[in-house]
């Protein structure tokens, strides 16, 4: 009885995930072990060649560069997101909602449009450079666009809301008495943050960081538009393999590696959070 109800309730969800997530990923994985056809199709001959190619220094460098850009994006998002989330968590409940909506508001507009907006802001004739020149702070425009700076700026802008939301949920769960107890025992505000607030919000930091990192490392639109196509990230590489080079098996192999890394990160994070929750659940 209960079992059948469970199937009825979870069935559609599971079917949905199977159809849109598991099957495509499985196909991708399968494809990554075949050879590329001469005219861009797939020759169904089993091979490890795609994976061997993927670890070639040329591609390894792209991996590394992507991880670096995603890593810096994550750190900046954390540095910007933590104070923001902290402030929102300390607000009275009514105001919290308004600020959380403001944080999420950009997510409801089109990603491409938001990214183009950054081109307008960052280019040589853009708002930022013109303002700085107008103020007499610089003589020549700064190279703000079509470099790592632009990519990291765009990615940070796009994903910092996820960081804030993850941190907010973690910080707002923290009982204010814990900070007060720390103060009462003689800790300075900085010490209270280091010894109490920070360790207890580590799960939120981990969740937010994994989110931002995973989303950033797979992104190909922002590197394309704001990096000017000069800087290839792993997302661009996969995109190119599928649509330009038409080497589906190789593209699949790289994608499989990226998915593997993402899943490993998410799993580690989930396991850590679970273990912590078990240890520290407030009885």
């Amino acid at each position: 009885m209960i079992v059948s109800r469970r199937i009825v309730l979870t069935g559609p969800g599971i079917a949905w995930i199977m159809l849109l997530l598991v099957i495509p990923c499985a196909l991708l994985l399968v494809n990554s072990f075949f050879e590329r056809g001469i005219y861009g199709g797939i020759d169904y001959i089993f091979t490890f060649e795609n994976y061997v190619r993927a670890v070639d220094p040329l591609y390894a460098e792209i991996f590394w560069n992507s991880a670096r850009v995603a890593g810096i994006t994550t750190l900046i998002s954390l540095a910007l997101g933590y104070p923001a989330a902290y402030c929102i968590a300390l607000m009275p409940k009514r105001r919290q909602m308004a600020f959380l909506i403001l944080v999420m508001l950009p997510l409801w507009s089109n990603y491409l449009i938001r990214t183009y907006a950054w081109i307008v802001l960052l280019n040589g004739e853009g708002l930022i450079n013109r303002s700085l020149i107008g103020l007499g702070l610089i003589d020549a425009p700064l190279p703000l666009l079509y470099n790592d700076f632009a990519i990291i700026t765009g990615l940070t802008y796009a994903y910092v809301p996820f960081m804030i939301l993850a941190l907010f949920s973690s910080i707002s769960k923290l009982a204010p008495e814990l900070r007060e107890a720390s103060t009462d025992l003689g800790a300075s505000p900085l010490m209270t943050f280091r010894r109490v607030t920070l360790p207890l919000t580590l799960p939120g930091i981990a969740a937010g960081s994994v989110f931002v990192f995973v989303l950033s490392i797979g992104n190909f639109v922002t590197p394309d538009l704001l990096g000017g196509g000069k800087r290839t990230m792993i997302g661009n590489l996969i995109y190119d393999q599928f649509l330009t080079a038409r080497d589906w098996p190789f593209g699949s192999a790289i994608a499989a590696i990226v998915i593997g890394v993402m899943m490993a990160l998410l799993t580690i994070q989930a396991v850590l959070v679970n273990r912590r929750d078990r240890e520290e659940k407030i009885a």
């Binding site: 009982a175 008495e177 814990l178 007060e180 107890a181 720390s182 103060t183 009462d184 025992l185 003689g186 800790a187 300075s188 010490m191 010894r195 109490v196 360790p199 207890l200 240890e279 520290e280 659940k281 407030i282 009885a283």
Partner: protein, 353 residues
Amino acid sequence: MSALLEVVGVSKSFGEIAAVDNLSLSVGGNEFFALLGPSGCGKTTLLRMIAGFERPDQGRILLDGIDITGIKANKRPINLMFQSYALFPHMTVFANVAYGLEMEGLRGAELAKRVDAVLELVQLSALAKRKPAQLSGGQKQRVALARALVKRPKLLLLDEPLGALDKKLREQMQIELKRLQQETGIAFLVVTHDQEEALTMADRIALLRAGRIAQLGEPRALYERPNSRFVADFIGQMNFLEGMRVAEGFAVPGLGLFNAANLDDLPLGAAGALAVRPERIAVQDTEVAGAIAAEVEGLAYLGQDLILHLRLDGHDRPVVARVHAANPITMHVARGSRLWCGWSPANSLILSE
């Protein structure tokens, strides 16, 4: 006894609500002082101002004669034991207790020695390596106490320290707290809304009402000489017989004239109530001269005592009497029984407000 803590004319409002209203009190150096009062009367707010988490709108707080009103919470030699205990969930019992000492710069063997000594004092040595989630309510309460005591504060504030415990454990911990206070010589300022708890533990009690002190004094004084109906009613149980001061005594309509311990304090013509504690009413099953006849309307058996709801002849409000189980009338009294009751004037008070 020289005053350790002095609260002088302190007020604090939240918007429209005056949580604490021009309140003054002082606590002695080795005193067990209880703040008692109904929910929302400002007990926690007062404690938080003394601890330094809330700034008074008005008034001053002195510790050892020094004004600490403007000093930050982390710089006051006062510790607060939180109602929720507020133990750090990511630290062991040992680390929780050690935290406050680390903030004083203590390290290594000296730190371990002091922590161990306090854990010994609260009988938690065996659990030093556990995390708070692995402790029972009573054990958490003792960790919170140890964490505050280890700092050797001049004054320890405790906000409903026993609120989360069941009755049996509460009674045990009341004695424990009293013992710890005497052994450490630290002044305790304990918030409670349980009058029995305050009576059991405290050297002095301040009963609060709507941010003000209703009465301050030793437990006995509050119980035996309440200054108002509110105090009389809050501390223990009290019967009130409405009446008026006349030339010959205190007249209660339908019952006659009474004398009382404080009869002479009340001006002629003033209205008030004659207040008698249930256990001070003497009850007999034979008629005696001067006793008031009554009928038993209901009874409740409490083991060591029997509670009788009596309707006095000629009076319309029921009166409660508490009879000790050793009294022979408890053997055969039942609903509808006729009894005779009375009390000595020394055991009754007239309360006009």
